[in-house]
């Protein structure tokens, strides 16, 4: 019970307090305290020191253990950096947005935790709709036309997507007609236990509706557009939250239904759907990188790419599934560093257009170097974790029944890397025509500290490869029926 209080009730309570307290510093201290509690508890639960028993529609299994740890890790660093970001926002008009910033952030944490811990499709639905509601006003932080449009599109398209997911859930109940599950509640484990009895046609339809609906939130092509607009116009820390944890919350819903389908005859069809979606996402990212003009948009497309890789891992199964879970962990951390850097660059140059940005390394050297390192991390250069997780995914593909998929995947990834690299190097090193370059010094602030800490953590996890993480991922793979 106490776990539920810390994971969900405490953030809601903090959110209400943030409404009452107008002082930004107090709000920050409050949110940081909540984040620390949340992180501590999820680490304790993850390490298995404490066996969490949750009541009602909530429970913890190895999958939610891992995802809630990712969520609280990302959230903690984002909150930590938020105050220094709010003190000097990239655009002066953000005054009004600040007032509700921490309130919404706390609400976001509560909604995401509820979605990740839910063991009932209905509860999951309510919570994941709530995450949309919490993040939409945050996208409109800068109060300009672009962010307004992005917020409208995100709110509208994702709400429709989630409505589709709800239809998928209703179809799941249809698939249970005439089985022992008829008239029962929609608990995940009940469905997984009796998966073989479900009507295969309705089950497939249900999966398609849930996958397509949640794709708007995960950012799987061709439903990625609203997500891209939102991520590319949100302030840096919010974009980091979206890329690092919100997409995973939506992916969790897909994984839950996938886990049910895994043990039925519909598995082969569903696999093809997942793989197609994933390859399409990689392709979309590949095409965009050729004409990229806005660097935050480029990073948003990079998220589409990596979520595509994770989905591909799910679809392929086996080793690739293990790789996908590792990839989710590493991607979340690298994305936080990249988006925090992107926020700093936006603040220094007052624009997100890459054609107007040059000599970042001279103007904001610390941010520039960290951004470059984070770019290496996200591209899968060793010793950063992405290298190992991508290798695992490739290995999984190679030894699966569809090894030929590896060719297009490698091709897309190579060109995404080359084009992203070209753009980022021209931002960092490029010199404007007849422009003079001054070497400026940049004070070391919280955002740099967070970036350094995360990069060290990222490398440490990758190199030491903690056994507890590996064991946990193995248990997840076993739950999904992938014996290694």
């Amino acid at each position: 019970m106490i776990e539920l209080f810390i994971f969900i009730a405490l953030p809601v309570f903090a959110s209400a307090l943030c409404f009452a307290v107008k002082n930004l510093k107090v709000q920050y201290a409050l949110s940081l305290t909540v984040a620390v509690f949340h992180l501590t508890l999820s680490v304790i639960v993850f390490l298995g020191v404490h066996q969490a028993v949750l009541p009602g529609f909530f429970s913890i299994d190895s999958l939610s253990k891992l995802f809630i740890l990712i969520l609280s890790n990302v959230y903690f660093w984002v909150v930590l950096v938020s105050f220094s970001y709010l003190k000097r926002p990239a655009m002066p008009k953000a005054g009004e947005g600040k007032r509700y910033y921490f309130l919404l952030l706390n609400f976001y944490l509560a909604a995401n935790s509820a979605a990740m811990l839910s063991n009932h499709f209905g509860m999951y639905w309510v919570a994941s709709e709530a995450t949309t509601l919490s993040v939409a006003p945050l996208i409109y932080f800068y109060r300009n036309e672009e962010s307004l449009e992005a917020m409208w599109k995100y709110l509208f398209l994702v709400s429709i997507g989630i409505a589709f997911a709800f239809m998928g859930i209703l179809m799941l109940t249809l698939s249970a007609k005439g089985t022992v599950l008829e008239g029962q509640q929609l608990f995940f484990w009940e469905f997984i236990k009796n998966a073989k009895e479900l009507n295969p046609i309705w089950l497939k339809v249900s999966f398609i509706f849930i996958f397509v609906g949640l794709s708007t939130k995960i950012g799987i092509a061709p439903m990625h557009s609203a997500d891209i607009d939102a991520t590319s116009n949100a302030p840096g820390p919010v974009a980091a939250l979206m890329s690092g944890s919100l997409r995973l919350t939506a992916l969790l819903g897909v994984m839950r239904i996938f886990q049910i389908v895994r043990f039925t005859s519909s598995y082969d069809v569903v696999r093809i759907i997942l793989i197609t979606g994933a390859l399409l996402s990689l392709f979309v990212a590949f095409v965009y990188m050729f004409k990229a003009n806005n660097f935050q948009r480029m990073l948003a497309y990079s998220s589409v790419e990596h979520l595509g890789l994770i989905t591909l891992g799910l679809g392929i199964g086996g080793f690739a599934f293990i790789g996908a879970m590792y990839h989710a962990v590493y991607n979340s951390m690298s994305k936080v560093v990249l988006f925090i850097g992107s926020g700093n660059i936006h603040r220094a140059f007052k624009t997100r257009e890459m054609s107007k940005i040059s000599s970042v390394l001279n103007k904001v050297p610390k941010t520039g170097w960290l951004f470059l390192t984070a770019f290496f991390a996200i591209s899968g250069i060793p010793p950063f974790g992405m290298f190992f997780s991508e290798i695992k995914i490739f290995e999984g593909i190679l030894f699966s029944d569809m090894p030929y998929i590896l060719a297009p995947v490698m091709f897309f990834l190579l060109f995404i890397f080359v084009n992203m690299g070209r753009n980022i190097f021209s931002m960092l090193y490029g010199k404007r025509e007849n422009g003079e370059v001054h070497n400026e010094t940049e004070p070391f602030d919280f955002s740099h500290f967070v970036s350094v800490a995360l990069l060290i953590l990222l490398t440490a996890i990758a190199i030491s490869s903690p056994d507890i993480l590996y064991q946990n991922i193995l248990v997840i793979a076993k739950d999904f029926g992938f014996a290694l």
Binding site: F57, E129, E145, E149, F156, A163, L170
Partner: protein, 210 residues
């Protein structure tokens, strides 16, 4: 009784496809809310319980009273013109709607042979989902898009009753609350859009492109 109400619901969809006034959309939303509330109340006529009346009551408050009133207020505040401004001709739209509904009814009839389901509520709910999407696709005004989204939501609700499935009360209330907040946020966003772009049409939203 359920079938009669579902057919009434379906008729309201036809009305939606021929009317060209924004106000009529709001009225239809209200009527659909009343139909859904009655559908929820029917089971309680035989065995009444105070506990079970909470959801129909919330439904009534959210879908019949609060949301239509809020949309009317937005229309009034922003001085939105009364016409819906379609992107295709009304007659073509009506033909499309009729064709869709006919296909959905036939398909549901076929499906009902393999799975036991209530064909009329099932098909009506599904039609409302399709029409809601059409409204979003073929209308220029953003406020009409919100109405389309709500028609879609109502359709899902009717669809839910047709598969004879009951969510626990807490979750049911949660879904209603979510819809409530979505509409509220959309209203605020519309307010901002009208002051930022000086208009409420999709055409104004074209800044974000690849």
């Amino acid at each position: 009784m359920e079938n009669v109400l579902s057919i009434l619901f379906c008729l309201s969809l036809f009305y939606l496809s021929v009317t060209s006034r924004v106000k009529a959309y709001v009225t239809v939303l209200r009527v659909q809310g009343i139909i859904l509330t009655i559908l929820l109340v029917i089971p309680f006529l035989s065995h009444f319980s105070v506990y079970g009346i909470i959801i129909p009551a919330t439904m009534l408050i959210v879908k019949v009273i609060y949301i239509p009133r809020y949309i009317n207020k937005v229309i009034l505040d922003l001085d939105i013109k009364r016409r819906i401004e379609p992107t295709i001709q009304q007659m073509v739209f009506l033909a499309l709607v009729i064709a869709t509904i006919v296909i959905i009814f036939f398909a549901s009839q076929l499906l009902s042979k393999s799975t036991p389901l209530n064909v009329i509520p099932f098909a009506s709910g599904f039609s409302a989902i399709a029409i809601g999407i059409y409204i979003i696709m073929f209308r220029k005004k953003l406020i009409v898009h919100v109405c389309g989204f709500l028609v879609l939501e109502n359709g899902i609700f009717l669809f839910g009753t047709s598969v004879a499935f009951e969510l626990p009360m807490l979750i049911e209330l949660g879904t209603l609350l979510d819809v409530f907040v979505v509409v509220f946020l959309m209203g605020i966003a519309l307010n901002r859009i009208s002051s930022t772009f000086e208009g409420f049409e999709v055409a104004h939203l074209g800044r974000l492109k690849d």
